[in-house]
């Protein structure tokens, strides 16, 4: 790569973009340093080069930038961050620079934040069951190591509490080793950040946590870098240092909004709701940085959090996320308002990697069947509940009324649990059987006879 080159002909400033003329041999995606006449320095990167004109996106925004006296230095390399094991226990800004007053990071290596796509032929399939201690997840939407499983939430819903509970309780059974946690705050409010920080401090986990923080009042363009910086460190720790890393990205809605802003400034043809047509590929370049790799001990498990605008799951951000991630945990305002924690809408939730992580030797032989039956029965119960609201319970058959009772008990006993309640998978499955036993046995059409005989409370303890 070429060394540093400096230019001063800024011809246009538009939103977060600078147009610089008279440049030569500027590289696409190259990183730049913008020096204001005041001496203030900002960073940016090249979005487009056309002959001797470069379009530069300024991370900290263009407020106060002038066309005269501004120096733009092209640094001849892509955006890199130093990576090192010592970064655990530290707090960084959204570009990966320490903000905790500690020393500069002694880099073991510097890496391009954009990473590179994992070769599907080099991936290993995720299949190690993670016990989160949360029944709705472990029993019905099982998380496995190396999975990307987002939380779809809404403003005011307890997604932070749930994410923290998962981070605290997550273990792979039979292994003592804990997860290293990388936390990326993407345009979140200060109190949300404080919640996580305090949580990590209190649990004594801080030395296994690295935080990358871009707050709501900080420059929006940095949000495009923050999750990538976090994942760059995660990849290093997982694939070079054999660690199991849990990456929490919150809030991906803020990320997508920053992307929309830059797209609008570039006057691109917008896709749905003004988001750029490449939102899918762009999100994928983040979410796909999870998984396991052949011959490597470590793994990256991703838990992105996003708030659905107007609780609308068809909004482009949750929609495109769901098309990329390996399932989703959907929180429900209705359950939350009824005081149920965690307010997980299990019907809308899904874990696509569940089937590989459960069963004999991993969880229990009845796991898949119990889960299928709980789904089938609960969805019928919920359907009948809305029917009963119209026609009255007495217009339902006897069996249908049992389904109503089942749905209530499912929510009250299986779904609900304490913020500090950590259930084993056996406890979760046994609870599942208990609520299923409310239904007549003939209704358990998803479960093989053999398993009913073995696990149904009615037969338990009998030969």
């Amino acid at each position: 790569m070429l060394g540093v080159r400096e230019y001063t002909r800024v011809s246009e400033i538009r939103g977060p973009l600078l147009v610089v003329e008279g440049v030569s041999r500027v590289a696409y995606d190259e990183i730049v340093e913008v020096e204001l006449p005041s001496g203030e320095k900002r960073r940016g990167r090249v979005l487009e080069v056309n002959r001797n004109v470069a379009v530069v996106q300024v991370f900290e925004g263009t407020t106060g930038v002038t066309t005269t006296g501004t120096r733009v230095r092209f640094l001849g390399k892509p955006l890199e961050i130093p990576v090192s094991e010592d970064m655990l226990g530290r707090i960084f800004n959204g570009l990966g620079e320490p903000i905790d007053g500690g020393p500069q990071v002694e880099a073991e290596e510097r890496r391009d934040v954009n990473g590179a796509p994992l070769n599907p032929a080099e991936r290993d399939y995720p299949e190690d069951f993670i016990q989160t201690g949360v029944s709705a997840i472990d029993g019905m939407n099982t998380l496995v190591r190396g999975q990307k499983l987002p939380i779809f939430s809404g403003s005011g819903l307890p997604h932070n509490v749930l994410a923290a509970q998962i981070a605290r309780q997550a273990t792979v059974r039979g292994e003592a080793e804990e997860f290293a946690v990388i936390f990326a705050a993407i345009g979140i409010k200060y109190d949300d950040y404080l919640f996580f920080r305090k949580f990590f401090e209190e649990t004594g986990a801080l030395n296994k946590v690295a935080m990358f923080v871009n707050l709501a009042d900080e420059p929006a363009m940095i949000r495009l870098i923050t999750p990538r910086a976090a994942l760059t460190l995660a990849e290093y720790l997982a694939y070079e240092r054999d660690m199991h890393v849990l990456v929490i990205l919150t809030d991906m809605t803020n990320y997508a909004e920053a992307l929309r802003e830059i797209s609008a400034a570039r006057e691109e043809v917008p896709g749905r709701q003004g988001y750029p047509g490449y939102l899918y590929s762009d999100l994928a370049s983040i979410y796909e940085r999870a998984g396991r790799v052949k011959g490597k001990k470590g793994s990256i498990t991703q838990m992105p959090i996003l708030t659905m605008p107007n609780d609308d799951i068809t909004h482009p951000i949750p929609d495109l996320t769901g098309y990329i991630t390996e399932g989703q945990i959907v929180l429900s305002r209705e359950l939350h308002n009824r005081g149920i924690y965690p307010p997980i809408n299990v019907l809308m939730s899904l874990s696509r990697l569940m089937k590989e992580g459960i069963g004999p030797g991993k969880t229990r032989e009845d796991h898949a069947a119990v889960s299928n039956q709980l789904y089938a029965a609960y969805s019928r119960g919920v359907e009948l509940r809305s029917l009963a609201a119209v026609v009255g319970e007495e217009s339902l058959s006897e069996v249908d009324r049992k389904y109503l009772k089942f749905a209530d008990e499912f929510e009250r006993r299986f779904l609900s649990q304490g913020v500090r309640e950590n259930r084993t998978i056996e406890e979760t499955l046994d609870l599942g059987w208990e609520v299923l036993s409310i239904l007549p046995e003939e209704e358990l059409t998803n479960i093989k006879e053999e398993l009913i005989r073995k696990y149904h409370p009615k037969y338990r303890g009998r030969p």
């Binding site: 056309n50 002959r51 892509p78 047509g277 370049s285 929609d319 769901g322 003939e442 093989k448």
Partner: protein, 605 residues
């Protein structure tokens, strides 16, 4: 003389180069010092607009661009089966090896600028002259033309790879290699025409955007049996047919396509992962070599080729991956095989098209898609079909195409879904509500359709049971009627319905639980042979018909359910409790059900 120019502009996957006069539209070019692969998509004056199939990060104006003189092509020859390629047919395991040679710790990443040929140049294959089926052997002096079978190679345990005279080569056979071991680039034959001698190798190249020639296209006649009940019985696919499977996220497109790739009665399967998850390709790659092809008992991977452009890989290669895949499919069709191509997801391909069109500043039509979206879709699905191949001996082959569609927000009125519908004959519509209640496969039986029902009827009647069509139609009627009744139930509940209608609800539930729902991960239920499909349906409908008789005689549904007792749930579970080689158990269960009902009949007097 290849064209040589230099880069003037870089914007994402789009590069503009000047000094490109003489370059052809869709010519493959090498971009920059690293020689990245690109394709010319527009020419203006001496400027060429190039979509680059690798990351353009770090490219600079002034770097060289070189033409290759040929359009983007694939390599065709023995050694394709069992492989995984990227969107422009680079073998992914070899890319990892190549990277590992210089940077061992980065072998898991796909880095750019790695050039590895699709077909192994070192590997030797045993070439046998003559046609493997008829034994017909060509001799020097014989007149030969495209598609004539020169010989064969045992490519995998299942597939005999026919070495054919490539399209465009015609004349007198001057020489043909004797039986022996050859690489794909060794000369296997020479063909002389007008004094000019053309060498024929086991490998040749074909431009991906040009359909391979055939003699005639024929109507499909046979079903492509998939082992999925709702598909084979209600919405059948035909060999050489086209289908789409649209659905919101998590509704079961990928699982269905995996099942098709795993179980269907195709001889060769091309699986294109187009802008989807890396782990889904890995899953196929890890599992298929372990799984057995249900029709031959050999490893599934021996009939499979994977094309992977995952969602985080360069978007331009996504656009190309579909064409790479269908060209491979046509090649095996030309040998006389029934090929199944599945593409997951065609929406990502369309979005790649949209992104590139946007960078070219083309006028967008609906939702930003270029105006030629529909014609591109049509061209793609037109490459499916059952054909009589070129050359001799005569042979029939087919390409069946099934594309997943991922509509934003699950809305089927969006452009990709609605245009696709115009060009396909089978529509398996996935329903988010069914998926939420874990009714899998979540194929909605009210809005799905297949244009091949009449056409496959004969096959079923000949091979399974002559009553197939009447049972199928009657079951469909029950389901339709139930759908109407649900409207009423929503207003008044179930208790006030007439017994007749209650029976419809009861039976529809049995059809859903005992027939339509099918767990792709259950060792027994994942594949349902046609005989089993028929017997299950027959059992449920015979129960229904007998029960209807009793209801007409005054029995209530409650009485009927009481009379059959646990047999009802046994009927619902027969699909996974009855092993596929013990279908007599279904007949026996059916007999017990009917007997229980006769008992009731006797008691009613």
């Amino acid at each position: 003389m290849p064209v040589k120019g230099r880069i003037v502009r870089i914007s994402g996957p789009l590069v503009v180069a000047e000094g490109m006069r003489g370059v052809q539209m869709y010519e493959m070019v090498r971009v920059g010092h690293e020689g990245l692969i690109g394709e010319v998509t527009r020419i203006r004056g001496d400027e060429a607009y190039i979509q680059v199939y690798e990351s353009t990060s770090g490219l600079r104006p002034g770097e060289p661009v070189e033409g290759t003189g040929a359009p983007l092509s694939v390599e065709l020859g023995p050694g394709l089966l069992g492989r995984i390629y990227d969107g422009v047919q680079r073998p992914l395991p070899e890319i990892a090896e190549a990277i590992a040679r210089t940077a061992p710790h980065r072998r898991m990443f796909v880095e750019r600028g790695v050039n590895v040929p699709a077909l192994d140049r070192e590997r030797k294959w045993t070439f046998h002259p003559g046609d493997p089926d008829t034994g017909k052997t060509l001799r020097p002096g014989d007149k030969v033309g495209p598609g004539d079978v020169l010989g064969w190679v045992q490519e995998t345990s299942i597939i005999t790879h026919k070495i054919m005279v490539p399209p465009g080569v015609r004349g007198r056979l001057k020489s043909i290699a004797p039986e022996g071991d050859y690489t794909v680039t060794d000369v296997i034959a020479e063909v002389e025409s007008d004094g000019e001698v053309r060498e024929v190798h086991m490998m040749h190249r074909w431009p991906v955007r040009v359909p391979r020639p055939y003699r005639v296209k024929l109507d499909p006649t046979e079903p492509l049996i998939t082992g999925m009940r709702i598909i084979d019985t209600f919405f059948p696919m035909a060999k050489g047919g086209t289908g789409a499977i649209p659905g919101g996220f998590g509704t079961g497109k990928t699982v269905t396509l995996h099942s098709l790739a795993q179980w269907s009665a195709a001889r060769v399967v091309i699986y294109i992962g187009c802008g989807e998850r890396g782990n889904e390709m890995t899953e196929v790659l890890i599992r298929f070599p372990e799984y057995k092809d249900p029709w031959t008992g050999k490893p599934l991977m021996d009939r499979t080729i994977l094309i992977a452009n995952t969602s985080n890989m360069p978007v331009a290669a996504r656009e190309a991956s579909i064409y790479v895949g269908i060209t491979l499919a046509e090649y095996y069709r030309d040998m006389g095989y029934d090929v199944l191509l599945v593409a997951d997801s065609t929406s990502r391909w369309a979005e790649a098209l949209r992104e590139i069109a946007g960078r070219l500043e083309e006028m967008p039509a609906e939702e930003g898609y270029p105006s030629y979206l529909a014609s591109r879709l049509a061209e793609f699905y037109e490459r499916a079909g059952r054909v009589e191949a070129l050359g001799s001996p005569e042979r029939l082959g087919s390409v069946t195409v099934v594309g997943a569609v991922s509509p934003p927000g699950g809305d089927f009125t969006e452009p990709v879904t609605s245009h696709t519908k115009r060009f396909i004959r089978v529509f398996w519509a996935l329903d988010t509500k069914l998926a939420y209640s874990r009714h899998y496969p979540a194929i909605n039986w009210i809005i799905s359709y297949s244009a091949y029902v009449d056409l496959v009827e004969e096959w079923w009647h000949k091979n399974v049971d002559p009553r197939w069509r009447s049972y199928r139609d009657e079951a469909m009627e029950v389901l339709m009627r139930e759908d109407e009744l649900q409207e009423i139930v929503r207003l008044v509940g179930t208790e006030s319905l007439e017994e007749r209608d209650k029976l419809i609800l009861d039976t529809a539930r049995l059809i859903k639980d005992g027939f339509l729902k099918q767990n792709a991960f259950d060792p027994i239920d994942a594949f349902s042979p046609p005989e089993k499909q028929f017997k299950l349906l027959q059992m449920i409908l015979d129960y229904y018909k007998k029960a209807r008789e009793l209801v007409e005689k005054g029995a209530t549904v409650a009485q009927i359910r009481e009379a059959v007792g646990r047999l009802y749930v046994e009927m619902a579970k027969a699909k996974f409790e009855v092993p596929n080689d013990r279908l007599d158990q279904i007949d026996e269960l059916r007999a017990r059900v009917l007997k229980a009902l006769e008992g009731l009949e006797a008691r009613l007097g």
